[in-house]
Symmetry: C2
Subunit: 436 residues, 2 copies
C-alpha cells in the first residue's frame, strides 16, 4: 500500500509538492491532465484560506469555513495523492524528501511551504504576542479575546479591566489594518450589547506600524483613506514606530508611549518556511529561497519553489514578488506548464506576474481598492472585496456559509461565532489540552 | 462592577441558574418580564445543541454551527446577566454558590447542569473510548476518525489498516444509532472518493447495545425499522450484549466476539452532573436529583432542578422523565412560571410533560418518527427530522448555515468539514496543546 506512494512506483515522472496552500493547490490542479504522478504533502489535512483568518479570530465567520479538506479538492483528480506528513528534510542527491511517514522519492520537487510569522529574533515578542498565520492561531486569538472580555466583565479593578480591554495590533499591512478595523467594529457594535457592564469607552484599539504609512504595498490614496477610516472608527494609530518590549502586561513603543494591555497581535512580518536541506547560500533575506525565472531553485535541476517562500530574482523583479495569494496561484500554474515542457523536452516559459490589484477591507462599507489604474474606496470597494473573497474560497459549501455569515452580520451587526471551544492558557501561552 | 453581580445587589429576588443548556436557557427566557434578577453561570460561554454533535463528529456540519454564545441569546434581556464560571459548591445554608469567580448569592437556585457520559465505573472504558456529550468531545472524535483514515491510507500492515478502519459504537440509543448510520454513510459515500487506496469493504461499522432492541425509548415499529435501515447500510448490530474490555486495540464483547479496533465511541449511558453540596440522600440512580412536582429539590425551599439532572418522582412519573431536550425546555418554562408564583405568593402548578414524540435519523432519506399516535419511517420522517432540528437551533445564522450544509451534503453526498484542527493524541487521550 504505502510503498506504492512513498517509494518509486508507476514509472511516470513524480511531482512532489510540499504544502497545500494557494500555490501548491493550483500547481497540482494544473497538472491534472499531465502524464505525471502528483504527490502532495502537508502537515494539515486542509487548505487554509488565510485572507479571512482575521474574521475567524474576531468570531465573524465559522472556523471551518476558511478551511477545506485537501483530499476533497482533488476528489476527481486521478493522478493525485495526498499524505498528511511533516517534511523533515530534503535530500537533493537522493531525490527524496524525508517525512514523518518515511522517505518520498521525487522526480520534480515543488516547495510551496509558504510563510510564517517573523518575530525578527525577538524572543519576548515571540512568547507574549499572538500571531495569526494559520487556523489554530486564529482560534487561539478568538479564545483570548473572548476570555479577556469575560474577565473584564467581572473584575472590580479598573486598571485591570482597561488592560483586558486594550487591543494592540503590531503591523499596519493588510492583515493588521483588517484586524484593527474588525476590533473597532466589535467595540462599537457588540461590546455594550452583549456585555452590559462594559462600555465602548472602556475599550481601546491601537495600531502600530514601522513605516510612515499603512498598507504601504498599496497606492498612496488607499493608504491615506485606510488611515482615515480607522481614525473615524476610533483606532489609535502610530506610524513610524517600533515596539521595543512587552512582558504580557506592559507594551513599550519607541515613540515613548507605554500601553497596559493583555492583547497584542503580531502582524509585523513574515518569513519563508524553508525546509531543511536547502543550502544557506540560496536563502535570502526573510527566509525566501532564490529561484530563477521559471521558479527553479538556484543550483538545482529538478527542485522548484513557488509562492511566499520563493524569491524570484530577475531584472523585472529585483526583490522578488510580493507575498500574496495571486503570485502563488500564478506561479503554480506557470510551473505546472513548465514541468510539462521540461518532461516533453520543450522550451520553458519565464514567469510574468499579472498584478490584478489589491484590496483591503477596514470595516462595514469601508474598503480600499487598487485595481489596475483604478483607485476607489468605500462601499463599492467593500462590495468588490466581499465578492472576490467569496468567489476565491475553496468549496461551494464554504462560499455559501461565508456568504450567509456576512449577510447576517451585515444586517444584525452581530458576530455569532464567538465561542471559546479550546481555552487559551495565558500562563503557558498554549491551548489547554482537552481530555476526551 | 463585579460585586454588583457576584454579591447581593438590586434588592430584586435573584434567580441563579447553573447551566446554559436547553433547560437553563428556556427558564431564563421565560423570566424575561419577571421582576427578578437572572444570573446564569456556565463553564462554557456557549449553548450547545447536543442533538447534532454527531454531525460535527462526522464532519458533516461546521463545529461552530451547533453552538451559540449565551450572551447573544440574551442580548435584549435587561434582567439577565451571564458569567463564565465553574461551580464548585452549593451552600444551601448561606444561599450562595461557590464558583471560580467567587461566591454568588441566590434567592432561588435552579440546577440545570444536564448529564454527562456514564462509564458505570469502568475505568478502562473511560480511558480508551470516546464520549460525545459536548463540542470539544465531538471535535476530538472528528480528529480521531480523520487521523485514523490518514494512517490507514499509508500503512502496509493489513491488520493494522483494518483496525484503523473498524468503528464500534457502544450504545444503541438515538445517539448511537445516528452515529453508526453516519459512519456507514461515510463508508459508502466518502471513503473511496477521497481515499483511493482504501475500499469500502476495508471498513467496518459495529453497533453494540445492551437491550434486546435499538432506540428502546421509541415504538417497536421505529426500533425494528431503525435496525433494518442500519442492516441495509452494512452496520453489524449486536443486541443484548455488553462490552467487557477494551485496551485501545482489542474490544471484547460478552457474546464471544472480539474486535480489533482503534475507534470505540461510548454512547451507552449518561449520569446527572450533580454539583457538590447536594446531599447524597436526594441523589438517585444515574446521578439524578430528586424533585417534587414543581422541580423543587427534596428538602429545600428555594433550590430547584430541571432537565437531565432532575428526577421528578411523582405518581405520573415514578422513574422521572426521559433525559431529552423537550423535557428540559418544558420544565424550564414551568419553573419560570412557578418561581413567579412563589414570589407573588400565589399557588404553584405541577409540571406535566407534553410528549410531542421522538425522531431519530439513520441516514439520507432514512429516519424513524413517533409523533403522538403516528408512526412513520423513511423519507418523510427524515424530512420532519431535518425541519425540527433546523428550527430548534439557536440563532438565525446557525439555522442558515446548517441548512446550507445539509443541502450541499444531500446533493453532493460529501461532508466538507473534515478538518483535523486540534490533533488528538491517542497516547495521552487528549488534544495536543497548540502553542500560539
Amino acid at each position: 500500500m504505502a510503498e506504492m506512494y512513498l517509494g518509486k512506483s508507476t514509472g511516470k515522472p513524480r511531482v512532489v509538492i510540499i504544502g497545500g496552500g494557494f500555490g501548491g493547490v493550483n500547481l497540482a490542479r494544473k497538472l491534472k491532465d499531465a502524464d505525471v504522478e502528483v504527490v502532495m504533502l502537508d502537515k494539515h489535512n486542509y487548505h487554509t484560506f488565510q485572507p479571512l483568518l482575521y474574521q475567524v479570530a474576531i468570531g465573524a465567520i465559522e472556523s471551518d469555513a476558511v478551511a477545506f479538506p485537501i483530499r476533497r479538492i482533488f476528489t476527481r483528480q486521478k493522478n493525485f495523492s495526498f499524505h498528511m506528513a511533516e517534511v523533515q528534510k530534503i535530500n537533493p542527491v537522493a531525490n527524496t524528501v524525508s517525512t514523518t511517514l518515511g522517505d518520498v522519492h521525487y522526480d520534480y520537487l515543488a516547495i510551496a511551504t509558504g510563510a510564517n510569522t517573523n518575530f525578527f529574533g525577538n524572543k519576548e515578542m515571540e512568547h507574549f504576542t499572538m500571531p495569526m498565520k494559520n487556523l489554530p492561531e486564529a482560534l487561539n486569538i478568538r479564545s483570548l479575546i473572548l476570555q479577556n472580555l469575560e474577565k473584564a466583565a467581572v473584575t472590580t479593578n479598573v486598571a485591570e479591566r482597561d488592560a483586558l480591554l486594550t487591543f494592540v495590533v503590531v503591523g499596519g499591512g493588510p492583515t493588521g489594518v483588517e484586524l484593527a478595523g474588525a476590533l473597532a467594529e466589535m467595540q462599537t457594535n457588540m461590546l455594550c450589547k452583549d456585555y452590559p457592564d462594559l462600555k465602548p469607552e472602556h475599550m481601546k484599539v491601537y495600531l502600530a506600524e514601522g513605516k510612515t504609512k499603512l498598507i504601504a504595498s498599496m497606492s498612496e490614496q488607499a493608504s491615506v483613506k485606510a488611515k482615515q477610516f480607522l481614525n473615524e472608527m476610533g483606532v489609535i494609530i502610530y506610524n513610524d514606530v517600533h515596539v521595543t518590549s512587552y512582558n504580557g502586561n506592559d507594551l513599550a513603543i519607541d515613540n515613548g508611549v507605554n500601553i497596559k494591555t493583555r492583547n497584542v497581535f503580531w502582524a509585523a512580518g513574515v518569513k519563508g518556511e524553508v525546509p531543511e536541506g536547502i543550502p544557506q547560500e540560496v536563502i535570502l533575506r526573510g527566509g525566501r529561497i532564490q529561484t530563477d525565472e521559471i521558479n527553479r531553485v538556484k543550483g538545482y535541476e529538478n527542485i522548484f519553489c513557488i509562492g511566499d517562500v520563493a524569491a524570484m530574482i530577475t531584472v523585472d523583479s529585483p526583490n522578488g514578488h510580493p507575498g500574496v495569494a495571486p503570485v502563488a496561484i500564478q506561479q503554480g500554474a506557470q510551473l505546472a506548464a513548465n514541468i510539462i515542457n521540461i518532461i516533453k523536452g520543450e522550451a520553458t516559459k519565464p514567469f510574468k506576474y499579472r498584478d490584478k490589484g489589491s484590496l483591503a477591507t477596514i470595516g462595514r462599507n469601508k474598503a480600499v481598492a487598487d485595481l489596475g489604474k483604478l483607485r476607489f474606496q468605500g462601499f463599492f470597494a467593500w462590495f468588490v472585496w466581499l465578492f472576490v473573497h467569496i468567489m476565491s474560497l475553496a468549496g461551494f459549501s464554504n462560499k455559501l456559509v461565508v456568504f450567509c455569515n456576512w449577510l447576517i452580520n451585515y444586517f444584525t451587526k452581530n458576530t455569532d461565532n464567538r465561542l471559546i471551544i479550546h481555552y487559551f492558557d495565558t500562563e503557558t501561552m498554549m491551548t489547554e489540552p482537552i481530555a476526551k
